[in-house]
Amino acid sequence: MNCTGFEQYILRDSADELPARQKTKLQRHMEHCAACRSFSRDLTALHRTLKVDAPDAPDTVVKAILMEAGRQPIRARSNFLRLSRAVIALAAGLMICVGFWHSFRGLHPAASRNQVTGNSHITEVSDILFAITAPELWLDQWGDSRPADGNIEALAKQILITQGLYVDFQEETDEQANSHEALQPTTLLWHNSPEPLA
């Protein structure tokens, strides 16, 4: 290690941040290095010089600060802020919970039966997603018996069509296809089927 490295050791040693092993190494080096001894001496001298003539804050300034400290209603303000934050967090949490509840309650069989016919958009979407992704579970909730041919997806689709929630574009007739022009844009994918296929 060169003197630059040892000078950094001197700096760390002045802050009591030099590990014992490195401190021993530094002491050994300084025994025969005049340059590092000079660096260390200068550092101490600079430190001592600044300490001797260290300026202090005027009493008038300190007094003004303490008066300001006495004026600030820290407790009231901080409690108010904490309360405000808590209320906002609670309200946000409540809104999220209501949103989730409203979104997923359509999965409950009893609620679904009412909500499907009630044209609740969120319920319809969650119901359809559930039926498409897990038709077997969805059918169980509806209490329908399993189809004889075992085609659960077809039965799920059929029930959705019966409820007016799904249109199979591949199987629709020309008359049904023509009727799309009259549909509202928001119900294009989930519009009522003209005739239940069940």
Binding site: L43, E68, R75
Partner: protein
């Protein structure tokens, strides 16, 4: 057996917690503890008593206003971080002043003071402590702000390099390197004077 003042035995963080609950005496103790080191740091950074008074007051006013938001960490580091921000704003917003010690621009590093004839200064004057301190102060004005800041946090406030690194948002090695440059530059700038057996 002397029990001592209970407020004096509390940590900075505990004092702040007490102040938040309304104990102004705890805040007074807090100011008293850091008064000299913080003011010394600010004064040497900004260079004038007027600016130092303003910045010192601003620091504590911010401490008062933000005390409710203070969560964890070392109080001293937090206060010096506030001071660091205010000092940097103040220093950067100021027009540069060419001091007599500013480098003349030559590669040899000669200062303006070196190039001017110094007829008023006798060897006795050079040994005068106030003069030496003034030279050191001026020399500090001629090193990079980051180096000067590390040097002052270390010498004025007695902060560890770890604390300094946190305040400056740099690594410990960078803080050490800045200190190393600061001492090296000061030694060069003060090479012609004697300080308590040091720089010669």
């Amino acid at each position: 057996m002397q029990t001592g003042n209970p407020v004096m035995e509390l940590s900075d963080e505990d004092l702040l917690a007490r102040y938040i609950k309304g104990d102004v005496a705890a805040f007074s103790e807090l100011v008293g503890r850091h008064r000299k080191s913080l003011y010394g740091f600010i004064f040497r950074m900004v260079g004038t008593a007027h600016d130092a008074d303003e910045v010192f007051q601003d620091v504590w006013v911010r401490v008062i206003r933000k005390s409710a938001d203070y969560k964890t960490g070392r109080f001293r580091g937090w206060v010096f971080r506030i001071a660091h921000n205010l000092v940097i704003d103040r220093v950067r917003g100021r027009k540069p002043v060419v001091s007599l010690d500013a480098r003349a621009g030559g590669e040899d590093g000669a200062s303006l003071a070196d190039t001017l004839p110094d007829k008023s200064r006798s060897p006795a004057d050079i040994l005068n402590r106030r003069d030496v301190v003034d030279r050191v102060r001026k020399a500090l004005g001629n090193i990079a702000v980051e180096q000067k800041e590390v040097f002052l946090m270390r010498t004025e406030a007695g902060m560890s390099f770890k604390e300094i690194a946190i305040v400056q948002k740099v690594s410990i090695n960078t803080a050490l390197a800045r200190m190393h440059y600061a001492v090296g530059n000061l030694r060069k700038l003060l090479a012609d004077i004697e300080i308590d057996g040091g720089v010669s």
